[in-house]
């Protein structure tokens, strides 16, 4: 066997293991490689005598204060995340289609040419339709993702449950 590579010797030290059989046989016969291994082992041990770094007590506090100052992470809100996880892939696909449809409706509603709007003959606007229009107005004010739309839709129910 040729001489052991530095990598093989370092791997042995890092993994704190015995040499593989072939390497062990070579080490038995090769004083030069044994000397190199001992030198690396000495260095390895010396490096371990540095000890643990002191951690300033205020470091963790500073991180948490900065995180609180900067607000919640950019993920889904708790209610929306739970709802999103619970509906399954088909439900999530359906929610995306509904959200896309309602967003398209909202965009069309606000980009249609100005002029008198006509209600089909014989049909009056219901209070539910007014409420939906108000909800769509909210959607149209800013581009919203599905999680925000879901949270808007689910928050009132959560409040009712708490009551």
């Amino acid at each position: 066997m040729k001489h052991a590579s530095d990598r093989e010797l370092l791997d042995m030290l890092a993994a704190n293991r015995h040499a593989p059989e072939e390497l062990a046989r070579h080490l038995d016969q090769c004083a030069e490689c044994r000397r190199r291994l001992e030198a690396y082992a000495g260095t390895w041990d010396l490096l371990g005598r540095v000890g643990r770094d002191d951690i300033p007590a205020e470091l963790a506090e500073g991180i948490m204060r900065a995180a609180e100052r900067q607000g919640r992470p950019a993920g889904r809100s708790g209610v929306a995340a739970r709802l999103w996880a619970s509906v399954g892939p088909i439900g999530r696909a359906a929610a995306v289609i509904v959200a896309a449809s309602t967003a398209g409706f909202a965009v069309g509603r606000f980009t249609a040419p100005a002029g008198p709007r006509h209600t089909p003959a014989g049909r009056s606007v219901t209070s539910d339709e007014v409420a939906q229009a108000v909800f769509l107005d909210e959607l149209a004010t800013a581009p919203l993702g599905i999680s925000e739309a879901l949270s808007m839709a689910t928050e009132p129910q959560g409040e009712e449950q708490e009551r």
């Binding site: 370092l10 490096l47 005598r49 540095v50 963790a60 948490m64 995180a67 992470p73 889904r76």
Partner: protein, 181 residues
């Protein structure tokens, strides 16, 4: 919910749901290793604590996008390493003489028996005198216990580059620390 008993991936999911206390547990677990890595990578330059704080804030804001394809610690180390090198580059642009400052190795002294604190100081000085990339690879390998592949993941450098950096770092340290007991 007892955060101390959750694994890192579970804590990241909790953090994505807005449970800030999960961040506190991740800070408790890894702040020491992250700080040691930043201190050794930055060597004599200041700012290790700022780097660690900024790294955790990035974790906080990226929690919703985190996917546990790699260990959390490896991901955190990568953020720390990137921030350290951003800082070193910024200092270099501003004309701070990093190379000269970092390249001066401690003078090799005659074999001697030193007190533990002196040994630790000499070892720290020898590590600080290594080139930055060798310092980073060595720290992740020797002190964070990462394999070559994991050091590669944590730094974005190739495995063959890591092996070369490690061999040169250990050889240099072996020469610098010869005779130290």
């Amino acid at each position: 919910m007892e955060y101390g008993q959750q694994d890192d991936a579970e804590l990241m999911r909790a953090l994505a749901r807005g449970e800030t206390a999960a961040l506190a547990e991740l800070v408790r677990r890894y702040q020491g290793d992250a700080l040691a890595l930043a201190r050794r990578t930055l060597a004599q330059t200041d700012g290790a604590e700022d780097v660690v704080q900024e790294a955790y804030l990035r974790v906080y804001h990226s929690a919703g996008r985190y996917r546990p394809t790699a260990k959390f610690s490896t991901w955190l180390y990568r953020i720390v390493v990137n921030l350290c090198y951003d800082r070193l580059r910024s200092l270099k642009r501003r004309g701070v003489a990093l190379d000269e400052q970092l390249a001066a190795p401690p003078a090799a002294e005659a074999p001697e028996i030193l007190h533990a604190a002196d040994v630790a100081r000499r070892v720290r000085e020898a590590i600080s005198a290594l080139p930055p990339r060798q310092r980073t690879a060595l720290t992740l390998h020797r002190y964070q216990g990462l394999s070559h592949a994991e050091v590669s993941q944590a730094t974005g450098w190739s495995v063959s580059a890591i092996e070369s950096l490690l061999v040169r770092a250990y050889q240099t340290l072996r020469r610098q620390l010869v005779g130290l007991k």
